[in-house]
Assembly symmetry: C2
Homo-oligomer: 411 residues x 2
């Protein structure tokens, strides 16, 4: 039997999923599209009906506000992003918006007006699925997005970002205006998109930090040769070098263990035919860690390994680091609140890091920020198969509710 929270959650998720319901599967709700506008309008109306005061900022982030009775200028914000990837799931992003609405609504029903202002945020964009830009929503709230970042970019159909924004009824933030100083805390509830909670049979993850990421493209330049007539000793085999490097990097990553992860996601070989010793090989390397020092140490070690392997196999190597983002720790005080409330209310949880990027990593640079995770079945996300059980969805909302109570209702 589902309890009321579970039933309400499922109902609201199904309701919101109709905006962008994709005949090819899942939800496709890309920034500033018709489906996106419909979803924000529907959320706006729903929040109004539930007694929230709603408004948009210039770029289209939607807010729903319950004014604080004692400290109206101290705001506790919760929410997530309303956009999805193409053929995404029903939970990534929108669950955090629905959860914030449900938590605040329940608190007001049970406890009346909060002491501090409570505010839902439905961020315009996080995924970077339509335009080559990510975190447009939270970066605008945090004052980190710049006009010039998006002024020249277009979507896959050649529609300029600026035109899409205007079409949806929004415009640029006034970069000369003062940023909000009222936000005292941001708490984001999101699906884990990994399988750690599922493996450990826990309902909730309290996120202590979001990993830093470094991304590389490694190119190996050897010499293409005939696969039959070139003795092993005469070869400059780019794939032999790539194979050895990949093996070394991923073996070392296994030895490092959590929280380090390292991925070789892409390999391209030239000429890529069965009977030619490959002259060129390219692969990508994605390295993540919660500790910048460890991220650097691992990077240095694998760089050294790759150079030595290239030398020993007589090939040239170029290593291009094209992403270098620092780890982002969550706010210690809010983490304590989240842990305390989970313990107090017997919600099975663990302290963990996030291996994926979230709006919280932007918000954390702006205001005290923390995150909660709920399990993802088989770790699947960005896919119509994305799923979290009603029990876990409800446990996440309960944890959020108790935390928001402590943050907004306690003196």
């Amino acid at each position: 039997m589902m309890d009321a929270i579970q039933t309400d959650t499922i109902r609201l998720i199904e309701w919101l999923s109709q905006f962008g319901n994709d005949p090819k599967g899942g939800v496709s709700r890309l920034l500033y599209t018709e489906e996106w506008v419909d979803a924000q309008r529907a959320l706006e109306q729903y929040m109004q009906e539930e007694g929230f005061t709603t408004y948009y900022d210039e770029i289209g982030n939607l807010y729903g506000r319950l004014e604080g009775s004692q400290y109206p200028d101290e705001t506790i914000v919760s929410g997530s992003h309303v956009d999805t990837v193409r053929n995404g799931g029903k939970y990534d992003g929108q669950y955090g918006i629905i959860a914030a609405i449900m938590a605040m609504k329940a608190l007001r029903q049970e406890h009346g007006e909060p002491l501090r202002t409570l505010e839902v945020v439905s961020f315009a964009e996080e995924e970077g699925s339509r335009f080559p830009y990510t975190f447009w929503g939270s970066k605008n709230l945090a004052g980190m997005a710049k006009k010039e970042d998006v002024q020249e970019i277009q979507d896959f159909n050649g529609v300029p970002f600026v035109d899409a924004m205007k079409q949806a009824g929004f415009g640029f933030r006034d970069e000369s205006s003062t940023l909000r100083s009222d936000i005292k805390a941001f708490v984001e509830l999101h699906i884990e998109q990994g399988s750690v909670l599922e493996h450990e049979q826990l309902s909730v993850g309290v996120v202590h930090s979001i990993v830093g990421q470094r991304r590389f493209t490694i190119e190996i330049h050897g010499e293409a040769n005939h696969a039959g007539t070139t003795p092993m000793g005469y070869r400059k085999d780019a794939v032999h070098a790539a194979g050895r490097m990949i093996q070394q990097i991923l073996d070392l990553a296994q030895a490092y263990g959590d929280p380090l992860v390292s991925t070789v996601g892409k390999i391209d070989v030239k000429p890529n035919v069965v009977n030619v010793v490959p002259g060129n090989a390219l692969f990508t390397l994605d390295i993540r860690h919660t500790d910048k020092k460890e991220l650097i140490r691992f990077t240095d070690e694998v760089t050294e390994l790759m150079k030595r392997t290239a030398e020993s196999l007589g090939v040239e190597i170029t290593i291009d680091m094209w992403m270098d983002e620092d780890p982002v720790p969550m706010n210690a005080e809010i983490i304590q609140v989240l842990e305390k409330q989970c313990e107090k209310h017997h919600i099975p949880f663990k302290l963990m890091h996030s291996g994926a990027g979230h709006d919280s990593q932007i918000m954390a640079k702006f205001v005290p920020t923390a995150m909660l995770f709920v399990p993802s079945r088989k770790g699947i996300s960005h896919n119509p198969e994305e799923y979290t059980s009603p029990e876990h969805l409800a446990d996440g909302i309960r944890a959020l509710t108790y935390a928001l109570y402590e943050l907004a209702y306690e003196a």
Copy 2:
């Protein structure tokens, strides 16, 4: 200063290269095309002018014959294939035809009629560049080609093999007819297509065997996962497995050393994006050796290694062997003739194997067969950059000439 043999060779090679001279570079002379017909007709006419009796067989192999005075029914054949790959070089194939004509012409000028019949062959096809079929020329002479092998195949423009053949004026061999029993020896002169002779600064290679080949497609089935949220311990990373296998296979191949060669020419990863742990990886494996027992031993060892690696990384593997050709030894008596003549005439040579396939591997199953190589600059072939110096071209022709003398003029 070039001597007469060098000058004549270069002139004939340039002359024959005009048939299929490709504006995009090199020579493109695919089976039964207009360029191919022109080349065969030109060779036919040239041989007639030089006093050879010429004829085609049913499928379009061209022969030029100098009748033996004493043993007319004992025929010594030399030649190679007239077709090229697309944008191929000026030496692969046609050099062996020109060399045979020049050698036989020189022998008759110097020594008159041979005791045994001498015959040039210009094989219709070896490369498999137009249709998915190789060795069409030699397989027909050796009675190994079957109508049904080509009856359904088409070229890249959808032209059926049979139509192209008829268009060029040829048809199928009568499979019920008796095969030739007059051929006592076949000697093929060909470019090495490798860099062994160049590295060792030798003019000629006497081929003792053509490698056996095994080709495999290896597919690894792991699990696609988020590159950030999936701890190393939870992964079933197809690329980690592929990297380790490739490293093990190619390290082992280096340890085996000559004449074993092993090549991973092709890798395809799915989904092949930077931030997803790859769920699937496919790679090809090409293994060659002159000794079947060693070919099997290496195959067994790498199969065992791959299975163990798959097991230790928790992925599934399928290993598909789709080519298994035995090594082909050349005829010991003709090898002796070739070695003896090179020694006697101070042509710097070495006994070596062929790592590439040649018409000789077909002919060797039919008649006593041997091969000579000349160096390829940097080992390059199947490319407009293919080059052999005039000195080496001439040394190859001299070695062939002396050998044909011994085979056709000595009692």
